[in-house]
């Protein structure tokens, strides 16, 4: 069991990441593995343009996740209240951004918001909107799964005690859904942090997220700088996910 796990896990998942980690500290790469040691790439990767890009990515991911979480949760709650047939329609609608290639979503967003009165092309908002559209599907799916699992007896007990539907939602259903909501937020954040293809079509010069910078660096042959940037992206994402998971453990009651 463990042997199979390691045989699959190490070459497929761990090695590439370790090579990137190694490359980010290297000065040259002539044999199988990168060699030499320097922290110089990190100096470049944590200041100026790179730092700006990291902030851009974080702000974009946080905003897009919050929008996606609000929209996805709202839609999932609405779907749960609707009949079976309408729920199927909503489910299908929210799968669309996942099913359609993200390049297409990027292009669609570009076309949709390039004409007045919705002229957002060239602003940061178009990037955030595209990310939100892409990750809302995941928020919707994980929240709707959690709603289906939630025992209706809680909401019914609350209603029988005289609580209006809004009060039940606020005091009973959302608190009980909180672990799933934070999990969904974490997922959305991670996806948005790594989004490249739709972003490429939309980003204005003053709003360059980190993945775009990594792509640009490797594209012009600066592989080590790109690796350092990738490690920074990975570390930042993991740190935020860790923080989110701390909230989740405090909010789980059973």
């Amino acid at each position: 069991m463990w042997t199979v796990f390691f045989l699959l896990f190490v070459p497929l998942f761990a090695l590439p990441l370790l090579v990137v980690l190694g490359a980010s500290f290297a000065t040259h790469w002539s044999s199988v593995l990168p060699s030499g040691f320097t922290t110089g790439h990190y100096e470049a990767a944590t200041r100026g343009e790179a730092l700006q890009a990291l902030t851009t990515s974080l702000v974009t991911a946080v905003s897009a996740s919050l929008v996606a979480l609000a929209a996805g949760t709202w839609a999932a709650l609405a779907a749960a209240a609707l009949g079976k047939r309408y729920r199927k329609v909503l489910d299908a609608l929210f799968v669309l951004p996942v099913a359609v290639p993200s390049v297409v979503v990027g292009l669609a967003t570009l076309v949709a918001f390039s004409q007045p009165p919705m002229l957002l092309n060239g602003t940061r908002w178009i990037v955030i909107i595209a990310h939100a559209v892409l990750v809302t599907a995941f928020a919707y799916q994980s929240v709707s799964a959690a709603i289906t699992r939630l025992d209706p007896a809680y909401a019914q007990a609350a209603a029988s005690l005289g609580a209006s539907p809004a009060y039940v939602l606020w005091r009973v259903r959302l608190p009980l859904l909180l672990p799933s909501l934070t999990a969904a937020a974490g997922l959305c954040f991670a996806l948005s942090m790594g989004e490249l293809s739709a972003t490429m079509m939309l980003y204005p010069p003053d709003w360059t997220p980190l993945p775009v910078l990594i792509y640009a660096a490797t594209d012009r042959g600066a592989l080590f700088t790109g690796s350092a940037l990738a490690v920074v992206l990975m570390a930042a994402t993991l740190l935020v996910l860790l923080a989110v998971s701390r909230i989740r453990t405090r909010a789980s009651y059973r």
Partner: protein
């Protein structure tokens, strides 16, 4: 009369899911302060009836009244009922005191008032010492007490109990049964609708029992009426065990196989076939009036009693006898008897079991 503010009335309530009738034209009145048990097997419509009162299912036709108020079109939170369900449904993210205060907060009761009423409800159910705990830190019986306290804190006129004891083990169950009886003595004005499949719970607690089967009300009466003089075979077998013997009505009694049995034939016509109902614990061993002879098919020792299954004229007759010093052997021929007044003649064809 001022008593019309409480009580429950079903006026020909029919409930259907996707064209499937699960409750068929139920007419039933629960008086103010009365405990009514809805007794029946699963799928008999008893829980649906309770949910129609709570407002979680909408009747396809008919009206539901609480007191003189027609609540058929009211959403659950406007009905002012207390409800306790089998799996407790305590809010896991709130402490016991917040669970009990929930209904009062939702109704915007003043803070000081909430505190006294939460304490009162917790004291009444013996859970005063657990106010600061979370539900997950309580045992099943304690959680059920909190659920009852939560329902009572809003001081409802009507309390709905949906199989409240079936998640508890046997010993706890009899303890909680006594608790519920005590609570009802302390709150004599609260009408209680108690859904259960357990005849002991129904016989112990209820002022009246409504027996349900296959979406229909089969019988309704005091526990004594239903037990001593059931109206049909289904009621007889569901409320306590019963021997149901196919008999033919004669002049002064009935005949079962070769045996002539003396019994009050009531208004049943001579020559008609009917069902004779005799409770197992009223059947005696040995000679006596209304003697039946047969062979012992099975014998079970239950500690305080022996249960004999005796094959008489192709039918199994059960007899619960006080522990026998010398129980008959398997296959032995024995005589059974019962007093004429302990048997009830049911018109045949009704129910069918």
């Amino acid at each position: 009369m001022s008593t019309t503010s409480s009580g429950i009335r079903f006026d020909s309530v029919t409930v259907a899911y996707d064209g499937n009738v699960v409750l068929d034209a139920l007419d039933l009145t629960v008086g103010p302060g009365e405990v009514m048990a809805l007794l029946g097997p699963s799928g008999s419509g008893k829980t649906t009836a309770l949910r129609a009162v709570a407002g979680f299912v909408r009747p396809a036709s008919g009206r539901v009244f609480l007191g003189d108020r027609d609540v058929t079109d009211l959403p659950p939170h406007r009905r002012g009922i207390g409800m306790v369900v089998q799996q407790y449904a305590l809010f896991p993210h709130m402490r016991v005191e917040d669970n009990v205060a929930f209904g009062l907060k939702a109704r915007k009761v003043a803070k000081a008032e909430i505190r006294t009423r939460v304490l009162e409800a917790l004291e009444m159910t013996g859970m005063g010492a657990y106010a600061r705990r979370h539900p997950r830190e309580l045992s099943g019986g304690q959680q059920q007490r909190v659920a009852i306290a939560r329902a009572l804190a809003i001081r409802p006129d009507v309390l709905l109990l949906d199989e409240p004891l079936s998640a508890l083990d046997a010993q706890l169950r009899s303890g909680m049964l006594a608790e519920l009886a005590r609570l009802h003595r302390e709150l004599p004005d609260v009408s209680i609708l108690y859904v259960t499949h357990d005849q002991v719970e129904a016989l112990t607690l209820a002022d009246r029992i409504a027996v349900m089967d296959r979406a229909k009300l089969r019988a309704c009466g005091t526990p004594r009426e239903l037990y001593r003089a059931p109206a049909d075979a289904f009621t007889a077998s569901f409320v306590g065990g019963a021997n149901l013997l196919p008999v033919t009505v004669g002049d002064r009694g009935v005949s079962f196989g070769d045996a002539e049995i003396e019994v009050d034939t009531g208004g049943v016509a001579r020559g008609a076939s009917a069902t004779l109902c005799v409770r197992p614990h009223l059947v005696g061993l040995g000679d006596g009036p209304n003697r039946l002879t047969g062979t012992v098919g099975e014998i079970q020792w239950r500690g305080a009693t022996h249960r004999l299954y005796v094959d008489v004229a192709g039918h199994r007759v059960m007899a619960d006898l006080r522990e026998l010093k010398a129980p008959p052997a398997h296959g032995e021929s024995v005589s059974l008897h019962f007093a004429p007044e302990d048997a009830v003649l049911l018109p045949a064809g009704v129910g069918g079991g």
